[in-house]
Subunit: 229 residues, 6 copies
């Protein structure tokens, strides 16, 4: 079960309203690399997990991503300002101004509505962990792009916080991945000849080859971390 | 530019029509872990890549995934049989029977139409490579699920081939990832205190912690492979 | 911020696996009248609300709907059984069997993926409350349909619980609505002649007319409840 | 069956072209609270209704909403002006300029294409009527937002007309709701203990409670209206 | 403006309920070649048309397609029977049974919700007419597939009627096309060398070439028809 | 199988970056009349075709459309410039700046993600060819709109090339159509009285009638072309 506390995980504020940046930041509320996606993906993956350490990790992070979602939405709300005024949005979606009375939208920055097509669940622990590691890396990248396009120091602080949290999650998911390496879809790697072929279909150029393929394992993600039992 | 050869990358056949399995296998034609998604993701990522080795790798694999898409579609077409008969589909979508005259559909097994929401492109090479490694792992998993649910030996051979190719791509993408490690979004990892926090938001239980976070690096994916120049 | 407890809001179990009913019950996980929609709608509406009583009500219920989402997903997971077997699904989507390793899907019963198009937010408190009252009524109806189509006594208990909770939410949202009646979009009702016209465009028949239109107000939803301050 | 008359339900004109406002007004053509949605929802709900008074009301209003759709589209078309010129759209979608030769789009103001995910049909008369009352309230709100953002006096007249018509429909749907109160999903309200619980999951704060829950009934929506037979 | 008459354009009935065929026939209610699509496409195209003969033709047919939509929906409703029972649907979507109380759905046969992505509007009369001719041809094909899969003689009569109406519309749209030939996008055909190249990109085989390309014109679609003034 | 050559089908360049036009041109990368749609439609239709001449034509053109897709994407990439800067996009989607690090998007100009709902496949050769002829005509129209809104001479050259190629494809598809006339869905035209009715449902006005309907045939699309064997 979920509980909510009206205090934010980390307080947010803005120097001043900025309806254009409100639209841009919406990307991380309802876009493919955004907080809602992260929360829903980890929650959806957790429903069948047996391993208590990994189930706990997924729900710790899912609850945190819901809390990030709230931080991003609160920031967008502050940036939206006080009056509906669609032409004040220099670029990006205008739904907050014509549809929602300045509420933040569950969409990306251009107004494409959030869809569960963003969520990857396979029920295979190594594959789901790789999905999550990639998701966290992408989320970091999007926060970097957003960071470069805003001067507001409070918004930058919020983005900094969120970006660093994605790194933390990324590190943790790699620890979890290494814990399950050699199981499920990482077993029996490259046993068949076809796993060692290279089809050089784009010409010119061939730069890689395969000889002795190994399943995915990360180098120690955190040398100082204790091993989960 | 693209060219096409009417020979398949690998020939396909089926023991007998099987409209239910045709619907099921459609998952890998137009689903989120399917061949069309893979082809479009790698192609879309390649448009801005400068590094010639990685650009070549992406287009080699994109062209191969288009060729896989053709193999899967040809197999679905054979499985669909000779007469439109929707009730012969025991489970899954029926569009081949009511809409498409037994053609394969660009949808998942339940009829959800392919969407570019499946495609992840960030323009950051490490992030895009992690996306691709995760995609290939998920595609392998889906082929395993499909393999378990069919007796047809020719279909099994085709699935075996495709599954092994996903392993090959996975291995290659990891080689490429390690080539770019330490650049772009893998730089400056964990410099901020927030990257070392653990919010224990799901109770009871806390199994992981962070002390000295490192950016993602894979253990050597293929000890025998030569290094791209 | 959100916290999670691994205990469910109400424990769930099933008499036996039932993959067909698993697909059917998915409707209330990821369908338009389902728990994810309810949670996301109330959370999204809350981001701009000033009135502390109503903001609290929305977040109390949003957190509960997230907890319902977990109950429904856990039930679907149990019903999915132990082996991927798409043809065992007599009707409805088969993604749990071909894509997700028996995990529950964020879709409706027929596999249409959850979309934020289901979520209504206007930023006008009376309008948003009417949306929520209607949502709760519809959710009750869907649970009634699902109740009629299952014999499993534990699943029935879970549905009974959830159905009754929708009634509770409905009652509470009406209390909140009456608290804000006469404000925002319920002001200035019927001041213009056009609000009193009836266009009898479907023939034959005309059964209703308008003389003295009044804005929406509910009869006391709960005579025993104390008034929020 | 439907018939069409080339005269609009109410004539429309504009003071001058305004491509930005054309995009904004598109919200009420193809958005979630727009005219197409209303027409399709009431029509789709009517297909199974037996009660002749209510079926007639739904089709009277569905036909009117189709006529509103035509009025909105005609206005958007006039506002689009005479030359394709995407950069003249200061905010919102640009499909009229790059795709449609200045035709209005079946999308919201930001270009999200109309989807039947906006349409709620349950086949339960009280629930469907509550959906419609909420829809009409939301449509009024959106017209208010749009009214505030345009100076063109003719466009304002059209919006005024449409806004008032939503009030009329809202009043009529409440009359119809009260006619069916106590039937279907409004029966047996609060018989179970669970319908009287309050989960105080968001802290701090608890402002509402439930003691003696009643099903939804509106106060007399129109004291002067005659009762349908 | 639109008006509605409760008499259907053509009466419909069914021999007996058939929930599976109800799902199948839904294809022509809310699928890409269905009646809703046709109605919305012709209506959306008409909003900017100046030529009175063509505008009248589009609205005559749009109103008829709305009337077909009503016929199809009424038939689906009859086929759905009297009790919600999802497993009675042998193939196709089950939303009528779990969500809608046996109402017909605005989706295709597999439950994919209607989307305006099906609608083609370019604002160029020859292009829009070609779209409509193709749409009518496809609709005929889908009715043929559906006809082959049902024994119910009344349903067959309805399908026969609708199929023949698509032929009529097809013929009329071709008459209209030939009336506008040589205008807009059919002007200046093949003036550039690039319009006469053939890229033989799929090997082996080359069967066609281009020497003296002409814009599209249909052979007289109806030798007996009078010419519109 | 598909192969790729890193040389473009036709080289592209731009005079200077133009982020607004980059967004606009995205319409033909991932919009409903764009190159990805064309490639996927012809490929998807080809999977069941027996006639070798027509199968070859479809794959020749599908491979070319993939190559066009690459040309359009490369041009968008050049137009996007060198720095993420969403407000520099005066109109249209901003995903390249907030999500994708200046990569082109698989969406239309307003950010609606590519969907297989754009793709028409019926498995009936005459119907599919009519779809393709209409698609090519619409693609030409969109290129004309885009041509009018850009001064950049290199971009104009690219658009000219692509526009002329659509004419070539259109001509070829008509040759193919006439080759299959009288088969499949073009047989038995107008045998039933209902194919000769005209419902004059939009008043005032009736300009067309039907007396002796004929199936679709094009006047010779290319008098100089040799007949395929």
């Amino acid at each position: 079960m979920f509980m909510h506390n009206k205090e934010l995980l980390q307080p947010v504020k803005v120097e001043r309203p900025n309806p254009t940046y409100a639209a841009m930041l919406t990307e991380q509320l309802g876009g493919p690399q955004g907080e809602m996606k992260a929360a829903m993906q980890y929650m959806a993956q957790s429903f069948r997990i047996k391993d208590p350490a990994i189930k706990d990790l997924f729900m710790d992070i899912a609850a945190e991503e819901l809390s990030h979602m709230e931080m991003v939405a609160t920031t967008v709300n502050l940036l939206n300002g006080h009056d509906v005024d669609a032409p004040a949005v220099a670029a990006g979606h205008i739904e907050s101004h014509v549809l929602m009375g300045l509420n933040p939208a569950l969409s990306n920055a251009s107004g494409y509505l959030w869809t569960a097509a963003y969520v990857n669940v396979t029920g295979d622990l190594p594959a789901d962990l790789l999905s999550n590691i990639a998701s966290e890396q992408r989320a970091k990248v999007v926060y970097e792009y957003l960071h470069r396009q805003i001067e507001d120091k409070y918004v930058r602080q919020t983005i900094d916080f969120l970006l660093n949290r994605e790194e933390a999650h990324n590190t943790l998911f790699r620890q979890a991945f290494n814990r399950v390496q050699g199981t499920s879809s990482t077993q029996d790697w490259g046993v068949d000849e076809n796993a060692r072929l290279y089809f050089d279909l784009s010409t010119p150029g061939k730069y890689f080859d395969i000889k002795d393929p190994q399943p995915p394992v990360f180098r120690t993600p955190d040398p100082g971390a204790r091993q989960p039992q």
